[in-house]
Subunit: 115 residues, 2 copies
DNA sequence: TGAATATATGAACATTCGTTCATACGTTGA
DNA sequence: TCAACGTATGAACGAATGTTCATATATTCA
């Protein structure tokens, strides 16, 4: 947490600007997060991973897309830290990143299923 | 809730397919919902509306974009029922659609602000 | 080592998306 | 009724996005 000198001329304004810039960054990141959720292939992957971890092979079958398409989307989910990977032999096992992912997703499903 | 005849040949398969198709539709809608959240201009608008309703004029100033851009994004938010409009004289007052919007958004902000 | 299998990734292409510009619509007040 | 104001919207354009295809990497097993 930064401390501002109340006696300098620019204090109030600077704080306000800093605050607003911070908000802008956060809101940008929030939008980026939602963007990652905002694709059918990725929502299918997330849904498939909801209960158990899965390897790419099984995920590919589960979402009904090509292996390449699934791998590309997994990379996006990985980079956003929405999923984790675990390598075992020839296979990569993916799982959901943390509980926030589950909670956000579950809320959206709940919202979608309402009138 | 539909009832299936356990004695017909296609029962199990049909139920399974129906269930999967339903899931697909839901997951598509969920992705669509997230897509609407997934734009910086729209997250700024949602953030601005978090406490109070606002007219387009003030929203335009709040998010720092042109009135046209804001109106276009408000239309998208409106069609997704994430916001509501109320007309009063020359002005249109926008507010958040329901509590789900707030909860989903707040969770995403919370997630974003974490390590 | 070489074939088979699982996964990842770069390039290309088509599609979608957000902004801008111009303009239309609707309301208010002179 | 006409000017001013607030808002909405269509067309156009550039940027971003998702899939496909081809291919690379990595691991296992014979």
């Amino acid at each position: 947490m930064e401390v501002y000198d109340e006696n300098t001329v620019h204090t109030a304004k600077a704080r306000e600007v800093t605050l607003k810039m911070h908000q802008d960054e956060v809101l940008y990141d929030v939008a980026e997060l939602f963007k990652v959720f905002g694709d059918t292939t990725r929502t299918k992957i997330i849904c498939a991973l909801f209960e158990n971890e899965m390897c790419v092979c099984d995920l590919t079958e589960a979402v009904g897309m090509t292996q390449s398409a699934v791998s590309h989307q997994l990379r996006i989910l990985r980079q956003a830290r929405l999923v984790l990977v675990r390598r075992e032999g020839k296979s990569s096992y993916y799982s959901l990143g943390d509980n926030h992912v589950k909670r956000i997703f579950a809320l959206a499903v709940e919202h979608t299923l309402e009138p």
